[in-house]
């Protein structure tokens, strides 16, 4: 029997199908090389993975010299590119070499003659000839093998912590508690003194009491047979779950019973709750909507393209959305009374899938190596805090009691959660978590971080007092 996972075998089957027309010996390099000769890179490259708000971290533009070197390398590659118009350039280069050689020979000859004529004066024959280096420079620069990285092509500084802080963070050895729940836990929420988790394949919600670390209720929320429970949001008086995902289900935390099931069309993604009002958004419909629990109906909506996450602050709803290029995000500030977008916060090329509220700021754990701070008053990014180490995947994050935690959860043995202290504006600790976490959600309650493992269990990470 194969030891490969089902997912891997599915991937292989797809690869097998594609391989019928895309053979293993495919060779794109000649065409790529030819295209490279025919195009020039832009003077300043567009943001890609780790762009920066700090202009000191911006990459320098390519210099003409580096372009010339690059081109000569392409033209001397072992591959066979398609014909390119280089003949005249090559002749010019050869001509330059001949002229340079003639000048050198002339200079050497003249100096030799002078030395011989002065021979009787000091007894030295053929004194050392000054090297006419500048004359040779053009031909040397055009030689493909002599590649010297230009200072202007040095890589941009990536998002890493200053050396004074790297590796010096205090380590918090976590105390872990494992709490089994239903099948395929998906989203966690903290509210009404409990941790709530959706079990997506069971269509249920588990409620965990942090005082005992026990599941004190398992609540079925999906309609018969649909077996899905996805996003969840909790307050002291209500818990809302998306099931289906075409249903909004309300749970009363005082009884642990479903008290309302509302069909929603189009379906909604992760809702947020504030002052008893539910804000929902949907990537499928590109809508931000306000849901009134009292009437169990939507009473306002506004169009937002490709929303990713919504949060609420006093007097504003903030929507993180994909800026349309697939590599960076923006935050839109929406007036909750009119639905108008009143401000746009550019993340300048950073990409993020979540944001948090703490104090007077919005915190954005980006996928590109930094935690961003947005001031809610000015609607501007005011600080960029590079992660202590590179992130491998979409980081999980949560906040509480003046701290922000970002988990670089890659399911690798050296995964870590970094703790950021808002008051000191410093990364203040690292919490090694092993390979427990892969994806999902992270919440803070009772001085502990909560997430889930791949073993259908909630993991409580107790922090020191």
């Amino acid at each position: 029997m194969s030891n490969y996972s089902l997912r891997t075998r599915l991937g292989r089957r797809l690869d097998q199908v594609a391989a019928r027309d895309i053979p293993d010996n495919l060779d794109l390099w000649p065409r790529i090389a030819a295209r490279r000769v025919g195009t020039r890179p832009p003077a300043e490259a567009r943001n890609w993975v780790g762009p920066a708000l700090d202009t000191r971290r911006r990459p320098p533009s390519s210099s003409p010299a580096s372009q010339a070197t690059e081109e000569s390398l392409l033209l001397n590659t072992a591959a066979e590119p398609e014909p390119v118009p280089i003949t005249q350039r090559r002749w010019a280069r050869e001509g330059l070499k001949l002229v340079a050689a003639a000048i050198v020979f002339g200079l050497v000859g003249a100096l030799l003659a002078l030395a011989l004529r002065d021979d009787g004066n000091d007894g030295n024959v053929a004194a050392p000839v000054p090297t006419p280096a500048p004359i040779f420079t053009p031909s040397v620069a055009a030689t493909p093998v002599a590649v010297q990285p230009s200072a202007t092509t040095a890589p941009a500084t990536t998002a890493t912590l200053p050396s004074s802080q790297t590796g010096s963070l205090p380590v918090i050895e976590p105390v872990l508690v494992t709490i089994p729940v239903g099948q395929d836990p998906q989203t966690l929420a903290a509210g009404a003194g409990s941790v709530w988790v959706t079990n997506s394949s069971d269509g249920t919600v588990s409620r965990i009491d942090p005082a005992t670390n026990e599941v004190i209720a398992t609540i079925e929320v999906s309609s018969a047979g649909s077996h899905t429970a996805e996003a969840i949001v909790a307050s002291d008086t209500a818990v809302w779950v998306t099931a289906g995902p075409t249903q909004l289900v309300q749970i009363d935390p005082s009884t642990n019973e479903v008290v309302a099931t509302v069909p929603v069309d189009p379906p909604v993604d992760a809702p947020v709750i504030s002052d008893g009002v539910l804000w929902t958004w949907s990537e499928d419909s590109n809508l931000l909507r306000r849901f009134d629990p009292a009437t169990t109906s939507f009473n306002a909506s506004t169009s937002i393209v490709r929303p990713l996450r919504t949060i609420v602050t006093e007097g504003a709803v903030w929507v993180l959305h994909d800026a349309g290029r697939g590599t960076d995000s923006e935050i839109l500030k929406v007036d909750p009374t009119t639905g108008d977008v009143v401000a746009t916060v550019s993340l300048d090329g950073y990409y993020a899938l979540s944001m948090l509220v703490a104090g007077e700021s919005i915190w954005i754990p980006t996928t590109d190596g930094a935690l961003l701070q947005v001031d809610v008053e000015t609607s501007q990014v005011v600080s960029v805090y590079p992660y202590p180490e590179a992130v491998g995947r979409v980081p999980l994050a949560t906040t509480g009691e003046g701290r922000v935690w970002v988990c670089n959860c890659t399911n690798e043995p050296n995964d870590v959660i970094w703790q950021f202290d808002i008051s000191t504006e410093q990364w203040s600790a690292r919490i090694p978590v092993g390979d427990l976490f892969w994806e999902g959600s992270l919440v803070f309650l009772d001085n502990a971080l909560w997430s889930y493992s791949q073993e259908d269990a909630i993991i409580r990470i107790q922090l020191p007092d």
């Binding site: 194969s2 030891n3 490969y4 089902l6 997912r7 075998r9 599915l10 991937g11 292989r12 089957r13 797809l14 690869d15 097998q16 391989a19 019928r20 895309i22 495919l26 794109l28 390099w29 065409r31 790529i32 090389a33 295209r35 490279r36 490259a45 943001n47 890609w48 993975v49 780790g50 762009p51 990459p59 320098p60 690059e70 590659t77 590649v147 990285p149 092509t153 890589p155 941009a156 990536t158 998002a159 047979g225 077996h227 899905t228 289906g244 249903q247 069309d265 993604d269 990537e283 499928d284 490709r306 990713l308 697939g326 990409y351 996928t367 590179a390 995947r393 979409v394 892969w438 994806e439």
Partner: protein, 217 residues
């Protein structure tokens, strides 16, 4: 390979185009296949991948050399393939079924989800059948399937690449699998667990079809 890759990226950052050649030779086949699974158009897939490599070279100064190049690059190729197809959407008949997403999303699915769609995917009688079924998926579902199963990304990364929440990505994969189930002619008599699927695969007779049946390459 990791050493070669890091060296290649260093060379590219130093302006040495030959670093790109190393990466092209390492990832071109997988990248074109991923793009091809999404576009169903080989010339277009090859063009997308060529462009993606050139773009990577032009922007290599901003790439964190500590991060693996392959996963990022393959994700960007899949994204480019989807965008390219989106631009041609009005002329491609295979996307006309995208509207059927609404049916699934509206809760019209039968109560019993039937046999595992993943099992059906593996049990497709021929490569051609699977290819046709894949081509009849709505574009967003096809991209999700390729990201999740061909490129083997976790759901959170599928979500990141699709620009949606993880829950949305899960839903999209769920609907994609169910549509494949219909396209591959699944019955609805019982639910098949993953373990049962793997067991059936392991005991299947390869002579009766093109299913892998546990053979490792």
């Amino acid at each position: 390979m990791v050493v070669d890759e890091r060296d290649a990226i260093k060379r590219m950052k130093a302006g040495d185009i030959r670093g790109l050649e190393t990466l092209v030779r390492a990832y071109q086949v997988r990248a074109v296949r991923a793009a091809y699974l999404i576009t169903h158009d080989r010339p277009l897939a090859e063009d997308i991948v060529q462009t993606a490599f050139l773009r990577a070279y032009e922007r290599i100064a901003q790439f964190d050399a500590e991060r693996p190049f392959g996963p990022w690059f393959l994700r960007s190729v899949a994204n480019d393939a989807t965008k390219a197809i989106s631009r041609r959407r009005s002329t491609m008949s295979l996307d006309s079924v995208a509207d059927r997403d609404v049916e699934d999303a509206a809760g019209l699915d039968p109560p019993d989800p039937g046999p595992s769609p993943e099992a059906l995917l593996l049990r497709a009688e021929s490569d051609g059948e699977l290819w046709d079924a894949l081509g009849r998926l709505p574009l967003v579902q096809r991209e999700a399937i390729v990201l999740r199963y061909h490129l083997e990304l976790p759901e959170a990364e599928v979500a990141a690449r699709l620009g949606v929440a993880t829950g949305t990505a899960k839903s999209r994969l769920h609907h994609a699998r169910k549509r494949l189930q219909k396209l591959l002619g699944g019955t609805r008599s019982h639910r098949t667990s993953t373990d049962q699927v793997v067991e059936r695969l392991a005991t299947a007779d390869p002579a009766n079809g093109t299913m892998e049946g546990g053979t490792e390459r």
